[in-house]
Subunit: 204 residues, 2 copies
């Protein structure tokens, strides 16, 4: 059940905007607007201005296509990071997910999607040319393919491998195996099969 | 796990704003911002402007204190509604919930809360004086007390009853009983006890 009766058009507009967000129903949207209305006017204004700014001021790094406040993002312009390693990811979320592991000190390249004929997404729709350009013009030692382990991810990996293997660059992928915390009983056979094949020396 | 690393301060601000909403974590907030970024610039701007407008343009009806675009809301100024019946509710959500039933054709009075000593909310913090003023100055025939069935709700009901019973007005409350769709086995004893005591003739 949602709300269909509003005593205010402005309130209705605000609820409609929040309800347009993914996973937000009209009741939740209403609760959000009510929460905003209880705040200081200055806080509400800052919230609105921040969203309005998004369309004017958000930029994408010219090198890796991640979101950036500057022409070249803070990772691509950081001399303390290994600029010779490029981790290829599908989207900006993945950049942050990997950054949060604290295990990676190279740079990224955001494709903006993966090859998916069903959705009509081909190689030309992705930032593949600019990746090739980065490999060609800079001294890149390694490309890490960090795409989803789906059919589309594998297709994209293969396409990128074909395209980039002509350059003098090491192409790697993320290790596949049994996830930490997973029970063997519930691990799918393909993952388990690969994990046995690619077993590692036991480390104490 | 939340995101702690951002390549853009503006993105981080936007995520923080959404994450300040009730029930929204940082990952969900991030997904919301990403969803906005995929939209038309005009759509993003309208979203932001709608929120900014809230603090300038939202008004409350001078009579019933519900949200309104005008000085007197569309319900209080509607001559087709029974202006002699006032349904007293805790907040604006409750107005809409009752409106959505389509079963009520009177007016409302939004208290803005209920008496709750624990939270430091006393009668003076609620719109009780203006309710009394409405009863005194207009020809009000009935006051429906539609507050929560909690201890605070009962306390407020009792306070309002004491205050308003001196006027020539019928004071009623919502019917209490077993909710439609509820199984008897899982209905609490107090509700069930009241439902038996206040049983109604069976209607075919």
């Amino acid at each position: 059940m949602g709300f269909s009766e509003f005593t205010s058009g402005l309130l209705e507009n605000a609820v409609n905007e929040f309800a347009s967000l993914p996973g937000i129903g009209r009741k939740t949207a209403f609760r959000m607007v009510m929460n905003l209305l209880k705040r200081d006017p200055a806080d509400i204004k800052r919230f609105g201005d921040t969203i309005s700014k998004l369309h004017n001021e958000i930029r994408y790094c010219k090198s890796c296509h991640s979101i950036s406040d500057t022409e070249i993002c803070s990772i691509c312009s950081d001399s303390k990071r290994d600029q010779s390693v490029i981790c290829v990811v599908e989207n900006i979320q993945d950049v942050m997910t990997i950054e949060n592991t604290g295990q990676f000190n190279g740079t990224y390249h955001v494709l903006g999607g993966i090859i998916s004929p069903v959705d009509g997404i081909g190689p030309a729709d992705l930032k593949i040319d600019s990746l090739e350009e980065r490999v060609r013009s800079n001294s890149v030692a390694e490309i890490i393919l960090a795409l989803s382990t789906t059919m589309e991810g594998d297709t994209t990996n293969f396409y990128l491998y074909k395209k980039l293997s002509r350059y003098n660059v090491l192409i790697t992928t993320l290790a596949r195996g049994v996830a930490i915390g997973d029970e063997l009983e519930y691990t799918d056979e393909i993952t388990l099969g690969r994990a046995i094949k690619n077993r590692n020396p036991y480390q104490v």
